[in-house]
Every structure is written in C-alpha cells, then in structure tokens.
C-alpha cells in the first residue's frame, strides 16, 4: 500500500505557507511535493482553497492532519474525520498522515500534539482509532512518531516498539520524523539509533526533518523543544544520513512553521537536504557496483 505511493511523490518537499505562494507560482521551483495541514483547508471556500487548487496543478501533495487526536481516550470525532475525508477527496494527495498524540479531550481542542502513556490499554485504543481512520478514508495513513517532554509512570512500552506494534496491527505506514526521534531521545536519555533500529523501516512512507530549540528545565538539565523555527540541526542531518541507506529513498519533508523565512531561504534549506539525499544515493550506487 505504501510502495504504490512512491511513484507519485519523491524528493524533498516543503511545508506550504500562503506567504510563499507568489514566489512559488512565479518560479515553479523543483520541489518534490508540498505538505499542508489538513485543518487549514477545512473552510468552505475562499483563497486558501484557490491557492491549494493552483498548487495541486503542478505539484504532488501530502495532507498532514493535526487534529484527529488518535492518541486520545475519547472516541474519534467523526465530524472531523468527515472533514478530513472531504479534504482528501478534494485534493487527492499522494500521502495522508497523522500523529501518535492527542489534542482533544471531551469537547475541547488543545492545539498541540500531546503525549500519551504507552500501555496495553492505549495500544488497543490507538489501534482501534487507526483502524477507524483507515476504514473511513478508504486508504492507508502514515502515523508520525512524536516529540515528547515527559514520561508516564504507567508506560510499559518503548515508544518505538509501541509504534511498531500499531503498524503491525493496523497495516498503517510510518511517518519517520527524525527530528522528533532526536528530540525525544535527548529528552529521555534514549539511544536514537537504537530507537530507529526498533522500527519497521520498510513501512516508512515519508520522512520529516525540522529545526529544534535548546532549553533548560527546572533541574538545570538541558532538553530540546520541537520548535520548527529554524534550519535542521547538524545532529539531525547526521542521523538522517545514517538512516537513508536503511530505507528506500522515501520522500522527505522540510518543516518550518514558526519564524518562517522568505521563500529563497526555505528553498535553499530544502536543496541542502536534497544534496544529502543525492550524495547518499550516489555512494549507495557505488557500493552496489
């Protein structure tokens, strides 16, 4: 199910921002695809849809949901799922993804990707939610690993094993966010490479890269925040380079959502990532020869 998408979407993509629309249209840059947050296109009409319609004429799309609250204890919001389905039907994206996180509780929406414990209880819950989403949408989704800042005493699973089990049970794919793996590993003293090796890498359908911010907690211990507000850190790119040979050349998204730079800066960062991909591919080819 994932492999069939590879023909539609390749290379390094960029998160689409309305302020870049004119620059993109004028130059039609060589970008692999654009990714949008599904919730930003759940209005009835107007300029957001006009821009995305136009973009879709020249580029493949990835629709990335942030509001389904798949990790929440409540039943999924079917009205929201219908809205997601409408966006997917309208734009026929190559990829649809969501998060291993929660954002809604009872009637309120909390606008963030919040952490959940990894237990047999939440495993059953998340599995049921992913099954429901995939059956409503009639397609496979990718589930993204989160950045987290805390741990639950109740957790009995390593996050990577938990994800692997969900993927095994639901047949969904993995959106491998390498910045999130790095952030989470630093924040909880995990070995990032061990985290990666626990994952079912053949199920990776997309990679995310983003910048993170340094912080210090109340105990004086440094930790990282998944800020999406700067270029990708060298450590994250090194991890990316280490992972690339382990997986097929999956599409990679550059996320930059805060302090968004002008288009040329964003494009240059995407090209820097593309050069790393191309370099890894070339060295792999030499190895095979």
């Amino acid at each position: 199910m994932i492999a069939q998408h590879l023909s539609q979407i390749q290379g390094v993509g960029v998160g689409f921002k309305a302020e870049h629309f004119a620059d993109i249209l004028q130059s039609l840059p060589d970008v692999g695809f654009f990714e949008v947050h599904a919730e930003n296109f759940m209005g009835d009409g107007g300029p957001p849809h006009a821009r995305l319609r136009r973009l879709r004429e020249d580029y493949a799309l990835s629709v990335h949901g942030v509001g389904l609250s798949i990790g929440g204890a409540d039943a999924l919001d079917d009205d929201h799922l219908k809205r997601l389905k409408a966006v997917v039907q309208r734009y026929q994206p190559a990829l649809v993804s969501e998060h291993l996180a929660w954002a809604s509780h009872q009637d309120h929406y909390y606008n963030d990707l919040l952490a959940l414990p990894y237990t047999s209880e939440t495993l059953a819950n998340v599995t049921a939610h992913v099954d429901h989403v995939q059956s409503m949408l009639g397609r496979t989704i990718l589930l993204e690993n989160p950045s987290t800042y805390l741990r639950f005493d109740a957790s009995t699973w390593h996050e990577a094993d938990f994800l692997a089990e969900i993927i095994q049970r639901t047949g969904c794919g993995l959106l491998l966010d390498i910045n999130n793996i790095y952030v989470t590993s630093v924040n909880h003293g995990l070995d990032a490479k061990d985290y990666v090796d626990r994952l079912p890498l053949p199920r990776v359908g997309e990679i995310h890269l983003a910048g993170h911010a340094d912080a210090v907690d109340g105990d004086g211990t440094p930790f990282l925040i998944d800020a999406h507000d700067r270029a990708v850190a060298d450590e994250v790119l090194a991890l990316y380079q280490w992972i690339l040979p382990k997986i097929d050349m999956q599409p990679t998204l550059l996320e930059w959502d805060n302090d968004v730079p002008d288009w040329p800066v964003l494009l240059a960062e995407a090209q820097r990532i593309e050069a790393i991909r191309a370099g890894t591919k070339a060295s792999q080819a030499r190895y095979v020869a």
């Binding site: 919730e39 009835d44 107007g46 006009a50 809205r83 606008n111 741990r151």
Partner: protein, 256 residues
Amino acid sequence: MWPDVQQEFAGVLLHPDRMQPDGIRAAPLRFDVYRNNVMVGLRRALEETFPVVRALVGDAFFAAMAQAFIRAHPPTSPVLLKYGAGFDVFIRNFEPAESLPYLADVARLEQAWLAAYHAADCVPLTIDALANIPEVDLDTLQLRPHPSLQMFAADHPAVSIWEAHQGPAPVDLRGLMSGRTYAMIVRPHLDVAVIQLQGPAFNLGATLFAGVPLSVALESADAEALDPSTVLFDLFAAGAVAGLGYGDNAIGDTPS
C-alpha cells in the same frame, strides 16, 4: 486508567497555577512546553484573526485579553480557522476594555471578515439577470445572498476605524469615534470587500436578503431616503446576490 490521566492532563493545560498530574515524570518547565504550545498557538490564531483589535489595544493588552478569552472559551473544534467567534461578546464584558466602547464592534467586524473569507465560493449574479424575469413574476422576486455576505450594523464607526488600519499610514482616529456603522462584507471572488452603506439602503438590503419579496420590501422602504433601483444596482455590483427566486423558479446559486 488513561481516560482519568488524560482528564487531569487536559485540566491543567490552560492553567499554569495547577499542578501537573500525578503519574507524569517531567522536571519543572518540561510540562510547561505543552502549556506554552497550547496558549501561544491559540493566541496567534486570535492575533491573525483580529489584527485591528490588536493594533487598537497594543500587543501586551491583546495578549492578556486573548489569554483570558482562551481560558474562558477554549476551542471546541480542531478547525482553528473559525476560532474567535464570540470574541466580540467577550470583549464587551471585559472590564479592562471598558474605556474602548467601539472595540467589541471592531472585533465583530473582523469576525464577519473572516466568515466572508472562508465562505463557500459562488458565482455572483449581475443585474442583467433581472432581464430574464418575466414581468408577471416581479412581485414575487426574492434575492438570495452570496454565501460570503455579512450584513453588518454597529453603534460605533467600526468600519471607519477598521479602514484606517488597512494602509501603511499612521492611524489618526480623531473624528472616527462616534456614529453608527452600516456595511456589507462580501467576497464575490477572492477579495473580501467591506462596503459602507447608508442606513436606509442597509435596511432595504437586509430585508431583501432575509427573503422578503422585492415588492413587499419596497412598500416598507423609506422612499424619501433612498432610490430603490440604485440600491438594487449596488447590491448586484458588489457581487452580493447569488441567486434569484420568482414564482416557482430559481436561477443562480452556482458554486464556483
């Protein structure tokens, strides 16, 4: 059990004075990343929707007012495009803003602008459409509004205040602080237009778009204060008319 832990977690997200839930291991300030993400994200959503309210009160006042609104009315949907409905009512009752009686009306105008921006797309009718209506049906003629149309009336000159903030020029609000506003906000294609109207024209437009047949609306219109054919022409010219109904027939309402 996860539902109980989640309940506690959700309950402290908007309240920095409440302890983080039991069963969570996080050094001080780490849990606050989530609190900060939620509050800053929602505040930014309000800043984007209410740029003129923000300019009128300043960044710090706006941030405090937004925070109070967010705590009182957290979003009920993951679709934040529409978050901020009700901000005008909140502002009207927000004591620190008492000295700015026009502020709530400006907020309501910005809410109407946002509703027009995200409304369904529809091809507006031109006044030529009237030529196709048989004379015998004119008595029953009804106008159907464009999906983006918002009729806006306020006690304060909200539109003039809003317009003063649209350009790069420094804002001079002197002389703008009193007088009722009548306007229609409509997005016939991609651009939202905010069009000021005279009171009688506004009343006729609002009556027509409420579905009152043209003949009936004209009877009750203030004939001395307005020229109905000019009002009709202006409504069509603004792109505010999406469809017409007459007898058992209808034209227009064509999605685009």
